[in-house]
Amino acid sequence: MAKLILLCLKFIILSSAVEAVFEDQVGKFDWRQEYVGKVRFSHFDTHVQSSKKVLLATENNVFAALNTRTGELFWRHVDKTGPEGNIDALLQHGQDVVLVVGNGRLLRSWEINVGGLNWEIVLDSGSFQSACLVGQQDNVKHVAVLKKTVISFHYLSNGHQKWIENLPESETVDYQSVYSDGNGEVYALGIVPHSHIAIVAYSVEDGEIIKQVTMIHSSSIKYAVCVVISQGMLTCVDPLTVSLYMLDLHTESQMTQIPLQAMLVSFATTGEKTVAAVMSPKNKTASSLNLFSAETGRRLLDTTLIFNMDPYGGKPEKLHVQAFLKKDDSVGYRVMVQTEDHTLTFIQQPGRVMWTREEALSDVVTMEMVDLPLTGTQAELEGEFGKKADGLMSMVLKRLSSQLILLQAWIAHLWKLFYDARKPRSQVKNEVTIENLSRDEFNLQKMMVMVTASGKLFGIDSKTGSILWRHYLDNIPSNAAFKLMVQRTTAHFPHPPQCTLLIKDKDTGLATLHVFNPIFGKKSHVSPPALPQPILQSLMLPLMDQDYAKVLLLVDDQYKVSAFPSTKNVLQQLQEMASSIFFYLVDSTQGRLSGYRLRTDLSTELIWEVVIPAEVQKIVSVKGKRPNEHVHSQGRVMGDRSVLYKYLNPNLLAVVTESTDLHQERSFVGILLIDGVTGRIIHEAVQRKARGPVHVVHSENWVVYEYWSTKSRRNEFSVIELYEGMELYNSTVFSSLDRPHAPQVLQQSYIFPSYISTLEATLTEKGITSRHLLIGLPSGGILSLPKMFLDPRRPEIVSEQSREENLIPYAPELLIRTEWFINYNQTVSRVRGIYTAPSGLESTCLVVAYGLDIYQTRVYPSKQFDVLKDDYDYMLISSVLFALFFATMISKRLAEVKLLNRAWR
């Protein structure tokens, strides 16, 4: 019993030793940005005059309400990814919004003030075409949904179906839109390509066909965008002929054509009036917008708005117009311009930008954190060491002068602090700009370089989250894969830092390089080599050229290697090093994993090959270790004071395979640990009755992976740790070619009570701090789970030695404690990746989680042992000091008096 209590106590101590956020730290060093994605539909809420809402439905299956004044989110609903959550239509009436979701599968009605669901119903299957509300202005009671072959009619109040009818001649007629004028009839519009337009009118009451009309039309409005505006006018915009077509559905007259000079057109209705906003290019950097009356096609006066294009952004792609009636009954408008890089810019007349949202950031693919440069003065001091020595005297003078400059800068800083302190707090501007960016004392502030799927690059200040630069790369293929590499850090002062982005078309394998400065975002003057061949693999070498840029090797499909930069110096170094440069290639379709060695003439030779039969299992992922990872201790001290040495093979690869047979009895997940140089299989493990998705972290001497157990229907974590044993074979250098002993392998598995979205491990400067696993959960939380809980040496029976070693007794289930959520209630939706970077403080690891949202914070896996805690009680310590000081003074005085008295006696 006593043992048990002791155990419990220990557990409590251990679990309380893990870091958590304090309430007063909220927002102190963390921030979150919420995004919605590329906008597909938008609707400005107009049912209340003072409404500030715009409703957005996006390609990322998100439905959200934004504040039009600030661009911030009121609320947001994130549906499941993929076609099943796809939003097909958005209709608004009053405070209800009807969405058609999943290719016409679901009909949902939302209450937009609260952001809650009114009702949701399942529709019959069938490919969705169009939907509309049926009724007069303020008396809308029904919603009509048009599918490929049927039209159905639903009550707006509860979603119940009123009637459903088949469409006539649905094999030939391509029904595209549905429209109602509110007088008891619903029209379904169909187009027979290159022939005629078919219109079917249904009775609202019972779905009876009232009349059928066919109309011959002259031109092919095949690519046209059509809307039906009030009074039954069909208005189409044909981007091919750049003109506006008008057709009155009631009079069945011929189409009238109105030519336009425009790039983009959008319609909006306010009150009785329908207008078309037309954007036309003005010059290279700006476009002008004008309003046209949709009834007459005439331009409205005083409606010009200038939109200045971002030189680093994309071209305008879509307009979302908010039209409103001014006091004098003329039409005013604001416009939300959507550009190719998914940016939303909300503009007011005559061109004032109210807010912008960088929706490209909802789809971050990869990122890096780059150290900020030193300030000019600090760099001056550093630069002294780089130059050639020219005499003792001048060196001393130079040092003195630079110290003087530093002193001057410090005094200026103090003066500024003093000056700012006198001003009211609201006036003090602490805006970060590229100019005043500099590294802080502990290197906690860094530049986050983020690459998004749309091809837009961002430079974000990690402290505040403000976007410092953006750069849109056009002509990025839609299925591109990105790899971002830091070739030169900011540490080599006169040379600017340099990042290289490898953009690869997944289909053709052809790649391009984009070289840029990560601090300013500018394209580098270094011209990257043209890559005519498909690229199979890229690797960064620790080699540097004379300008301190790391060498990037690119392997093409002929197994030829090219280097970037490829100066003479580099090639020479490569020739010397060639025999020790190894790399591996993965061909997951054929299940082949092969290792190559570089030859001096930059060709390659095959060293080893492992074939995993592709018909049985497929390679899911191959994970090496992070090159910037440091391991501080070579071993673990056991309870009996002996040392168990870690197997620290930097060339180790963790290969995860999944069975092709997905039957729950026969599916399995396999993990292979292969030495990347020799191809030797170090360890092999198979998890039966398990399937993916598998998440892996490979670090130090351990591999942690997570899979779904089909037998017990739960998620399980498994950890593999590798040890050399009680003796180290060669403690100075690790060589894959000279390791005769196979490592000891320990493995343990645990139950995890949740699904996970992504997995990463913390990383610190020197690797002294204990490690935590950062687990992104579908609920949006990011759990910081101490690696201590995933230790295969956790004993089932507690012994004296295991207690000495601080091992937690084995428990099958890992706990999720909400105190361990590093992002408290700042959930990150659909977290796709977690990036960790060391800071200048050993205790601190910088964390960025990205998905639909971006969240940045710091974690302290072993608490803040190297800085004073932020709740450090200065008052207490100084008051104690003062008290002691006075106590000594007083007692000294008393002692003197006593001595005097004694002397008198």
């Binding site: 609320w75 679901l106 609260v114 952001g115 809650g116 399942v122 229907r713 739960r714 139950i751 699904y755």
Partner: protein, 237 residues
Amino acid sequence: MHLTALLWVCMQAALVVAWCFTDMETGPGAGVSTQPNGDRFKIEGRAIVPGIKTQDWVSTARILVEGEEYVGFVRTDGSFAVNDVPSGSYVVEVVTPNYRFEPVRVDITSKGKMRARLVNYIKTSEVIRQPYPLQIRASGPHTYFMKRETWGWTDFLMNPMVMMMVLPLLIIVLLPKVVNTNDPEMRKEMEQSMNMLNPNPELPDVSELMTKLFSGSKGSSKAGGSSKGTRPAVKRR
């Protein structure tokens, strides 16, 4: 008596469950493999946060079935339905950033019979029935934050370090009052004992001196014992 009755009820409940779900028990996950054209069902229920109006939390709530495999939303009255779910066994969670809800496992037979039970990841086949349609009640707000250690006088005084400092202080102050040091006999005795302990008067050991000062009145024999006691420790080094 009471306990046995309860047990009996439990057993009966288990029996009833077994009887209801005979087609489920063919294997724990028999229904998982689904045909794409198979029947789709609806998981229904209600989420309740006691004491909080529904409109204050529904906009941030989601219903997650098997991770993000199926997603549902909460209606303005707190009820929810997840449509288009094939038969199988699923963990249903109500996810909000601010309130904690317990997950529930829902089993759907191929005929569309539903049952809800407690999630038990260790004993996966254990059945503790929950009401269906689901009634999920929030068990309170999430506790994300640690409490700061607040500073109070009592904490300060009860600190072992402070105790260690204060008690000797008290002894130093009080002991001379209790034992009259002005008594010449006493003083002589003390001095004597001090000399005995300190064979080398030029090198007074402060700590020893202190201990001797406090325990000195009790005689030298004990002091000798303590010095003996330290000897083995020295040897061990």
